[in-house]
């Protein structure tokens, strides 16, 4: 949980960087296009990773509560 919270800060900075890179027209700048795609992919993968970590945490809570009942 703590890891998720702290990695989120990196995500905020990455999301702030994205419009800086994409600010001017991209059609004549293939390098900038690649960067925009790469940063967007990093944002998506990090978000999905955080969702997965959240799923692991909630499964762990459920398992602990169920075993407590038994």
């Amino acid at each position: 949980m703590e890891s998720k919270e702290h990695i989120f800060l990196l995500l905020v900075l990455l999301a702030t960087l994205l419009p800086v890179v994409a600010w001017r027209k991209l059609e004549n700048r293939p390098g900038a296009r690649t960067m925009v795609i790469a940063i967007a992919a990093l944002v998506i993968m990090t978000s999905l990773g955080m969702e997965g970590a959240g799923a692991v945490i909630s499964m762990g809570v459920k398992t602990a509560l169920l075993s407590k009942q038994v």
């Binding site: 960087l17 600010w23 001017r24 960067m35």
Partner: protein, 119 residues
């Protein structure tokens, strides 16, 4: 020495910025790489020194998370503007900067996750 100008940008020598990313992209991209690593180290530092650093961060804004966020964003902006002013990173290529950003993200995440796994 040939040079080129682009709308709304400062004069940049042709040998710098080979992929025409722009000064802001280069500066703030590099700033993210540095800020990400410092952010991870700040996480480790504040968890290790709870009595001093964490307490000081709590006292600064009322909650250590707010202080941490303010420090991260401020550092990102200040370093970005500083690199832009000093011309640091101007010769980087798009691929080089992309790898630097991705590498910083992976390393910072690894430091944070690794620390909480071991701590």
């Amino acid at each position: 020495m040939t040079s080129h100008t682009e709308p709304n940008s400062t004069l940049i020598p042709a040998r710098a910025d080979p992929d025409h990313l722009g000064v802001a992209t280069l500066s703030f991209g590099l700033s993210f790489a540095v800020t990400g690593l410092l952010d991870a180290l700040l996480v480790v530092a504040k968890e290790i020194s709870e009595d001093s650093l964490l307490t000081a961060m709590k006292a600064a804004t009322g909650h250590h998370w707010v202080t941490h966020g303010v420090i991260s964003i401020a550092l990102f902006l200040i370093l970005g503007l500083l690199f832009q002013r000093l011309g640091i990173g101007r010769t980087m290529t798009a691929n080089g900067l992309t790898v630097t950003i991705a590498g910083s993200m992976i390393l910072s995440s690894s430091i944070i996750v690794g620390f909480y796994l071991l701590y």
